[in-house]
Amino acid sequence: MAPPETPQPTTLRHAFGNVLSVFVLLLIGVFAFSIRLFSVIKYESVIHEFDPYFNYRVTQYLTKSGVYDFWNWFDDRTWYPLGRVIGGTVYPGLTLTAGTLWRILNSLNIPLSVETVCVFTAPIFSAFASWATYLLTKEVKGAGAGLTAAALLAMVPSYISRSVAGSYDNEAVAIFALILTFYLYIKTLNTGSLFYATLNAMAYFYMVCSWGGYTFIINLIPMHVLLCIVTGRYSPRLYIAYAPLVVLGTLLAALVPVVGFNAVMTSEHFASFLVFIIIHVVALVYYIKGILTPQMFKVAVTLVVSVGLIVCGAVLAVLIALVASSPTKGWSGRSLSLLDPTYASKYIPIIASVSEHQPPTWPSYFMDINVLAFLVPAGIIACFLPLSDASSFAVLYIVTSVYFSGVMVRLMLVLAPAACIMSGIALSEAFDVFTRSIKFQLLGSTENLQVNNAGESTNVAQNDVVKTEKNEDSQKERSSRKSKKKEKESTERVPLVSRIEQKLLVLPLETSLIAVFLLVLLGAFYVVHCVWAAAEAYSAPSIVLTSRSHDGLHVFDDFREAYSWLSHNTEVDDKVASWWDYGYQTTAMANRTVIVDNNTWNNTHIATVGTAMSSPEKAAWDIFNSLDVKYVLVVFGGLVGYPSDDINKFLWMVRIGGGVFPHIKEPDYLRDGQYRIDSQATPTMLNCLMYKLSYYRFVETDGKGFDRVRHTEIGKKYFKLTHFEEVFTTHHWMVRIYKLKSPRNRIRGKTKKSKSKASSTTSSKRSGTRKKNPWH
């Protein structure tokens, strides 16, 4: 608790402390921003990976056409021929933020490109997030803990992994929104001010706009409210903090198109409504208790309880019936897999197969929150001594988030702020104790004598009592503005008492010195680890690749080479088919229409592409032709040893294709259960389109056709393509683009052979292909 522990609150000292705090915060902001620039320095200022390219493209559209057009945007460049309604299916927070930033900068005559703004949005918001962490932790345990927590959050690796420059994804702004919402909730809880309650609802709205993770907030805050009620901590401040949030927050959330009526219809939100009812009942009870005599109150209680039980029973029965009538009990698969960790592995293979949905092992914690893992327990204990509304919220936050992170490695991101807050509290308390010990024993030996004479032994027990009482007092008083005078009096009384008490609560000098040294060492290790993680582990943009070998650094820029080839050498309306991983990039960088992309909402469509890739050339040509595809793009890593290429993803294409079109069978592509592309491979494998497009002319590179990813010589080396022609292959052969040959040539060849039969054969061919073609 800050107020009783600040020694001698003279105005000058206060002012100095405040200026210093602002300066430190500024430095923390700069640090948070600059540690995320490794990706720009080591590579260049590009958007990373896959999803950010989609966000970037949406932002481009937004800045070009304005908000209203963005809202109604039907995108015909993707999911051809279906298209996708963008405005109603994205969380718009990130794009609106970056678009607004760009607009402000332009109106200030700072002509930055949209891409630059997008690249640097995440680092900017991580600086904001560390400031929000300062505010939140300050509300919980005072300014010192706040500064420590902000510094820790500025460089926590788990957050860096999602917010390096260029990783332009929802989480970049969502973590800031999450912390801000929690701060405003705690602020409202501590002050009881409706102003902050309104701000809280706005912050919640921003969070809902930004990320699907908002359900964490709308379940955590009700849990905390319920906890407060159950442990007898109900107060009008709690009511003010909660009720406006539910009412305003739900109304605002329903405004976001992608959430809409889900805000009142799905089970994820039911907890908040249930607690909303409970808090009203409790508030009513407290109110009645206040206006009735104790005897009357007892009568009223028995009356109300009997009536209330009946009503509650009825409502509960209806609710249970409603919830039970839906197959998943109203919960989405992802939420269920959090409640029952074994759920996903049993029933939803798609969720279970994604790598970021795996449960983490202990090294993941050390990688992502590093030494904070050691400090968190101390923070938890510090929050209990003494327990306030704010610190109980912090404890609840860390406990739930650490449990969720244990289920899904992805949610480590939500844990990171909580771990920083807890470690900040722990470190600040520890430094407080150790530096106090050093200070009073080095400097205050003369004063010590005077005060200690007053009574060393008698005061100890008393002071403890005084201290805890003071804490609670000061907290209550802070809430009510009327008693400001009292507070002043108390703060004047506090210093003397607390000084005596603090001088007694010290540790031996030399061990304190060593302890401070060890803590600083721990912090230094944390900094080294975070910088290393930011520089080495989390900065690769995955669109430009580098490899270091004995003869220096190699840069593989094949993806952008291919995309720019597409944009310069193909017609604007040409359709490009590729596996869904490259959909977002193709639309954003080449501006060409794709068949499937990373928003995997239509399984049949993906299965069609998978089937085409797994079929022999002729059948594949038919499928692609029926989809108006002009070009087919494959990613091939065999020449340079790039492991996540299409051949390695091929079994997924077979599986997904076979899931919808049963004539594609996985065993046909496996020799004795093994996936191989060498001479032992099955004929189906060697004749499928993906094999041919990947290895066409591959033997010309080294004469043997040695694949550096699979470490074998390929099975079929010399073959010609009948229905496709190679139009472009990038420098390192990582992207290869083929064009579908036009059908006319083929028919002419036939007509030469047998003119009379020509018409009949073509028509029968057509009907034959119809049958085989799964698209029809």
Partner: protein, 343 residues
């Protein structure tokens, strides 16, 4: 698991077929067999009939098509102790399917009989089916004459999801519907009633206590311990162990007599490994909290000094150990970036 497959299986089969041929003449009506099986079935509590060599012979002696399917569970008591086969669990699932079938199809003239056969007493039958590994479940369709080729073995994938998948297998192969599996509830109805009654009676008292504020829920130490435990549980990767069903430790591949507690490679961990690291993660924080909140109140300087030295030693060791193990497990080399003039 190979259990001695007799090399003379073919010979036995021949003998059996000869036997069948000789007994073919005697009028063994199918009705008598069915009624005998029905009575056997009603004797057994789960509806699984214990099959012996002679009974099997009599069943097979019936002219094809026989009026019923037979599903046989091949059992060996000597292998019940092997945990990787999980024969007892499969057997109980098998009898669950059997009893469910019986209760869902209360037919006087059943079309499907469930059998179990014991290896030690019916080795000849095992040889007859050519069964040399367990677990093994086999369906004999009514038309089967040659046991090895005409009967259908249940795939490992059908065994994997216990009773439900066995029922699916039966439904797909015999066109007989097993119906929903009636698992016996973990606690019986009477117990449930009793528990509900107790909870109902206890709730008002509990709420009253809760309001007055003297339950364990109002003791913040309980909450504190709970929070710390959840933290320990999560950072130790226990969720990983539960979801992946990891063992606490495993035997070394090269040297089975040695036990491996730590697995190298960051994608996997063993149970004991996770808990020990989780303990190290937690202990440092707990000691730090102890020093900052409890030790400062101790008046004796020597005690303070000794305890602090102990705490710092343990914390330093724990952090060092975790850093070392992490580097070993993941293979990362974490290093700082110093100015190049320093090197």
């Amino acid at each position: 698991m190979a259990i001695s497959s007799t090399p003379t299986a073919a010979a036995l089969l021949l003998i059996t077929i000869l036997f069948l041929l000789t007994t073919h003449g005697t009028p063994l009506s199918s009705d008598t067999i069915v009624s005998e099986l029905s009575s056997l079935r009603s004797q057994s509590s789960t509806g699984v009939i214990h099959l012996t060599d002679s009974l099997l012979r009599r069943i097979l002696s019936l002219p094809t098509p026989r009026p019923f399917h037979s599903l046989i569970f091949f059992d060996a008591h000597q292998l019940h102790s092997k945990p990787e086969l999980s024969l007892p669990a499969l057997k109980s699932e098998f009898s669950l399917v059997s009893s469910s079938f019986q209760s869902n199809n209360p037919n006087e003239n059943p079309q499907l009989f469930f059998f179990d056969i014991e290896f030690q007493e019916s080795q000849a039958s095992f040889a007859l089916f050519g069964v040399n590994s367990l677990p093994h479940i086999r369906l004999i369709p009514p038309t089967a004459s040659d046991l090895k080729s005409d009967s259908i073995q249940m795939d490992a994938s059908d065994l994997s999801r216990m009773a439900e998948s066995m029922a699916e297998f039966i439904e797909s192969r015999t066109k007989l519907s097993v119906g929903p599996i009636n698992r016996p509830p973990i606690i019986s109805k009477k117990q449930i009633m009793f528990i509900v009654a107790v909870v109902l009676i206890w709730t008002p008292f509990f709420v009253k206590k809760l309001i007055s504020g003297n339950t364990i829920f109002n003791d913040k130490n309980i909450w504190m311990a709970g929070a710390i435990f959840v933290y320990f549980f999560s950072v130790s990767g226990a969720m990983f162990n539960i979801i992946r069903k990891m063992p606490m430790f495993m035997a070394d591949r090269q040297d089975p007599s040695k036990l491996v507690f730590f697995y190298q490679g960051s994608g996997m961990q063993l149970g004991a490994e996770g808990f020990s690291i989780g303990f190290l993660y937690t202990i440092v924080g707990l000691l730090l909290a102890f020093v900052t909140h409890v030790l400062v109140r101790v008046k004796n300087r020597t005690v303070q000094r000794l305890v602090m030295i102990f705490v710092m030693f343990v914390s330093f060791w724990a952090v060092k150990k975790v850093v070392f193990l992490d580097n070993w497990k993941t293979g990362y080399g974490i290093h700082g970036y110093w100015p190049s003039s320093w090197q």
